[in-house]
Amino acid sequence: MGDEATRTAGHRSLAEQLRSWTDDQVAELLTSRPDLTTPAPHDFSQLASRATIRSSVARALDSLTRGELSVLDALVVAGQTTDEELVGIVHAETSYVAATLARLRALALAWDSPEGLRPLSGVADCLAGGVDGGVSGLRPRTPDAAPLNVVRERLDALSEEARALLDHVVAAGGEATAGSARRNLRPEDAATPAEELLSRGLLTPGRDDLLVVPGEVGLALRGGRTTTGPVDLVPDLATAERPSRLTESAAAGAAGEFCRRTELLLEWWSTRPATALRTGGLGVRELKAAAAHLQLTEPDTALVVETASAAGLVATRADVDGNPVWVPTDAFDTWLDAEPAARWTTLARAWLTSARLPGLVGSRGTDDKPWNALTPELSSMLMPETRALTLAALAEVPPGHALASGTGLPSLVARLTWLRPRRPRSRADQVAWTLAEAAALGVTGLDALSPYGRALVAGDDPTPLLAAALPEPVDHVLIQADLTAVAPGPVESGIARSLQLVADIESRGAATVYRFTTSSLRRALDAGWTAAEVHAFLASVSRTPVPQPLTYLVDDAVRTFGQVRVGYAESFVRSDDEAALAALVRHPKAASLGLRLLAPTVLVSTTPVDVLLVRLRELGVAPVVEGPDGTVRVGRPDVLRARTPRQRVAAQDDARHAAQVAAAVRSLRAGDAAARVRPAAAVSPAGALSALRDAIERRTAVVIGFTDNQGVVGERTVDPISVEGGQLTAHDRTADDVRTFAVHRISRVTPAP
């Protein structure tokens, strides 16, 4: 891997390479590795330094596919190399390797040194997870590795025992203890198989007296490539044909149903708030009650609740006793006013970007406590990614096809595992939840993405597409002699509200069945309707003649309405002396007492008893208090609303982040210009770190100013190996040994002469 093979001239350091990039390239890096931007780096050396921190590298690796990880792994095995050579040792299409290398460079996980393409030093440590994580398990090559054909010749020349031993070591993980094997022998002098392998360079001494199989041997054993199988094969989805007519109607049906259920639940909670747990969640009993009210299973109910919460339609507030309760927010009223399709869009978008895990509700956590809906801890930052990737995979399935039943889900899990192999094992569950939730929401129908679902996934507005798929609202009902009315479709909202007032709902769904009863009609009369209005309304919404029994029922309800009257009074006055009461009512000083004659012998007053007693005595009567008695209150309970919680919308996040990136790039350039006029030696602690990391990447020696335990300041020439946990591990040339130095005691770092 000589310099002559490198296409680019190479850069002295990663920082220098980054500095040579265009602003767009830098911005792209900062966008795809957002952890580099906060706080904004001062200059490119700091940016480069931050990019090599282990946790940042691990994060960057998390966003790679298995194929990309395999290419990166091959780069680690190869050490510093050229693109062409790498194409040779990765089992994949040339174009795939080239594209992947471009991405690795763009992510600053690999950079072009003068000696060739190099992975960041932290990458090798961060690559973990075995074959599923794209890790080949091969060691890095020795710096002076023999060419492939030479290694092959050496392998062929091995004795049987030595070959068996080598196979054994490879099978055991590529490492073995050295034992008493002598080193630095010629093959002819080898006495044991181990010594034979050592002498031929097929085993090399590693750290801690271990012998390792070097990368070039592993490559030779695998036919010159890091893997035996191709790494760029994306797992296919198992799909089956399913007419889009069916899937689309199933999806639209589910979408309508989901909105209806959300509305039903929140209307219910408006008048009967759900008690919130001390921890903020929704108790099992409340969830059960909601499930019964919605006629849904508890998991589906949990999804309705969680989605409403994610959309900001429900929040907690204190009830009259000061206990927290879940009630709809004022955003719910706005939501109700929207068209059905727009309502769905609100819910679906909230769901798509929500980190909540409704699928866990009802199961038990590690502490054996059941997960409650709306509990703050019930979320995972990976969930939005899972949802996005799952739906994106579904979007690949052409219309008219759907995930195959049975094999579809495992293939989808396999696809996601390939796309993000470093994600945790809970991925399979999350994919299954996403599919179930998407079906319940109507994003998919029969496991095929609906047309408006595609728009949702693509970030377009799904509302018009959904509106076209939802059934036309109807403006009439069919009233029947058994005192029911059937609306054969979704009812226009104004008519629906009136119908709900005069009749009880018996069955909900695409159609609605209403039943007229005496009590439902009374409810309408209570709300101020007159008999004539009820008759006129029924005649106007019914497409068929109103049956005579219903007309009769209305008149009958009106006849008995208001026969008993209820009023409000603070106290009453009664006396057998009618004349005395009549005189009292007309007494000029009694006007403020609010007295009213109900019957010749009974007065009521709006004045409380204690005041009334005193005033009556002033008026010259001698009242006595009658035993305590209750009063009747009328009125309906208040509809409760909480304030809509302030939430960050994903789009805002993106915009904010984009602005941060742009600002960061500008300040980088400025900072860099300033840094260039400063002396090269790093004197600040942050500068020292950058300089050390830079030296690690460049594999060059530096002179550090170091204060030792006795407080003596000295200078040492070291080859830095790693910086971690406030400690610099470096090869101290003076002592010819690997030592650790506390970073805070390093006063300055200058390049070694």
């Binding site: 069916l246 049906g253 589910a254 769904g509 069945v513 029994p549």
Partner: protein
């Protein structure tokens, strides 16, 4: 997508009857959905586990059911409903009752966990014998019916492959001279025969006796017929002699008065359930012959002892006949598991439109109580209230008015309370039939009524069932047994037997009046019964008694 059916998520199906595909759709969903109500515009069906298992028993699978729903549905079918249908139907037949060559009757399963679950259920204890192998367990033959009943309650209905015995053969043929089997009667008899056992639901007056006769002609074996009372037994006998090759000598009556056992024996529920010294001596009738067919008339009234006895008769073919499978005691499930699933059902209005039953005009007359009676009612004990409201004297005057209006048309006055009927009988000067009337006297009065010699009868609830009075045109119901819906159906049924067309070619229109005291429990109960009529498609009117003159 513009089908006639709307599938609701609460598992009700709304069928728009005026839709062009409505008939096809009704036929397609009838095997698995229960008709719940059939008012004028939209019929409501319901998917129940029972209905779905019935469909499985009749050879329909979940795929077909789902396909039917998707085909006829106007809107998208809720996904969870489809899943539920598939899951429910998959529960049927995991357990099978089979004949084992060595061990006789066995319960077998292809799904061992289900079998284990069932074996551990307390309710099946004692019904099962030894475990034969992992998937099979012996069943005591006498527990065949009980086991099926229990398994149904456990939610794992067993498919019965054990078959039927043929019984003692006896030639029976239909003699179609001057009449023929109506299409729905033939369909009902056929679907019963293909299903093996089951219940046929047809409205009163639609000729259920003929369906029974047709079933007997298919079985061609000795037959036991169970009916509600003696008068009804005689009517069955007359009808069988008229419609089939059977002679009067071949038909026996087994009642309180006569105890004959012949190749075809008609027994009353009453005699079967007579208890002496703690035993039912007459239940032995079931074993008296090797019956090939058992007919249960008015199966919705089947008394509990007969249920228990029927459980032992699972190897014999059974047909149940009824106008409504509504049982006020909610034991429809027992009928399904012991007699068999519903094999045939048709909306009343359909049969009416074909002219097989008479159209009816139902009127509810609201009687306003005078203040004195209202006060008495308000202060009465709750259990006395209904009687007080139902038996108000005001109804007598209204009844007299109505009778006078329909003078010349054969009229029945039907009531619940004897003193009220006495009063009416005296006021109207009409003969009265109650439970105390002798059978001979009843027969005489019915005959006189049938032949037009008398045109007014006051009857108690004894006339609710199986009395053939084809000439009746007007019924005035003055009181009923609380809110009983099936009583309402039966009483209306008295009027629905189509008479011969009048001289002008017009068929009669039956008039059904119900007298109700306003603002009392009487009105509440009436509402319950009227709702049933409306759900059967009978529009009704409500008028005030004072407006009657004008109506």
């Amino acid at each position: 997508m513009n089908g006639p059916l709307i599938v609701q998520s609460d598992k009700s199906l709304l069928l728009e009857v005026d839709h062009e595909q409505a008939d096809d759709c009704r036929r397609a969903i009838a095997p698995f959905a229960e008709l719940e109500r059939s008012p004028e515009h939209i019929h409501t069906y319901r998917l129940t586990p029972l209905g779905l298992w019935n469909a499985r028993a009749a050879g329909h699978d979940a795929e077909q059911v789902i396909d039917t729903l998707l085909t006829y549905s106007r809107y998208a079918v809720p996904h969870n409903l489809l899943v539920d249908v598939a899951e429910t139907m998959a529960r049927y037949g995991r357990l099978r009752l089979e004949k084992h060559p060595v061990h006789g009757l066995v319960l077998a399963s292809t799904d061992r966990p289900v079998l284990e679950e069932v074996l551990r259920a307390k309710k099946v204890a004692g019904m099962l014998g030894d475990r034969i192998d992992d998937d099979t367990v012996a069943v005591h033959p006498s527990e065949r019916g009980n086991l099926k009943q229990v398994l149904l309650k456990l939610g794992w209905p067993a498919e019965d492959f054990a078959g039927y015995v043929d019984g003692e053969a006896h030639p029976i043929d239909l003699e179609t001279d001057g009449w023929e089997l109506r299409s729905y009667q033939a369909e009902a008899a056929d679907s019963f025969w293909h299903g093996g056992s089951g219940v046929v639901v047809l409205p009163c007056g639609a000729g259920k006796t003929i369906v029974g006769a047709a079933a007997m002609a298919q079985a061609r074996a000795t037959t036991l017929i169970l009916v509600t009372n003696t008068v009804s037994a005689r009517q069955w006998k007359d009808e069988l002699v008229r419609r089939t090759s059977l002679t009067a000598d071949e038909i026996g009556e087994y009642s309180g008065a006569v105890k004959e056992i012949r190749p075809v024996t008609i027994a009353t529920y009453q005699v079967m359930t007579t208890k002496r010294k703690g035993v039912y001596p007459h239940l032995e009738l079931f074993d008296a012959r090797d019956w090939g067919l058992i007919v249960y008339d008015e199966v919705h009234l089947l008394p509990a002892p007969i249920f228990r006895m029927t459980a032992d008769l699972q190897a014999r073919r059974r047909i149940g006949l009824t106008a409504t499978l509504v049982r006020e005691d909610g034991r429809e499930g027992d009928v399904f598991s012991l007699i068999g699933p519903k094999r045939y059902d048709a909306p009343w209005k359909d049969i009416e439109s074909q002219g097989w039953i008479a159209p009816a005009d139902c009127v509810e007359v609201r009687v306003t109580l005078p203040d004195a009676v209202r006060l008495a009612y308000a202060t009465a004990e709750p259990e006395e209230r209904y009687r007080l409201a139902a038996c108000t004297r005001e109804k007598v005057a209204v009844t007299r008015d109505l009778v006078a209006r329909h003078r010349g048309q054969p009229t029945l006055v039907i009531g619940q309370y004897l003193e009220q009927l006495d009063e009416l009988s005296a006021a109207l000067d009409a003969p009265m039939i109650t439970g105390d009337t002798t059978v001979r006297e009843r027969q005489r009065l019915y005959d006189a009524f049938r032949h037009g010699e008398i045109d007014l009868l006051v009857v108690s609830k004894v006339a609710n069932f199986s009395i053939d009075l084809p000439s009746a045109e007007v019924a005035i119901q003055v009181s009923g047994s609380f809110g009983s819906r099936q009583e309402e159906a039966q009483r209306l049924g008295r009027l629905l037997r189509p008479g011969d067309p009048g001289p002008d070619g017009e068929r009669k229109v039956a008039r059904f009046y119900t007298l109700v005291s306003r603002d009392t429990v009487d009105a509440d109960f009436a509402q319950n019964r009227q709702r049933f009529l409306a759900e059967q498609g009978y529009a009704y009117r409500i008028i005030d008694a004072v407006d009657l003159a004008g109506a």
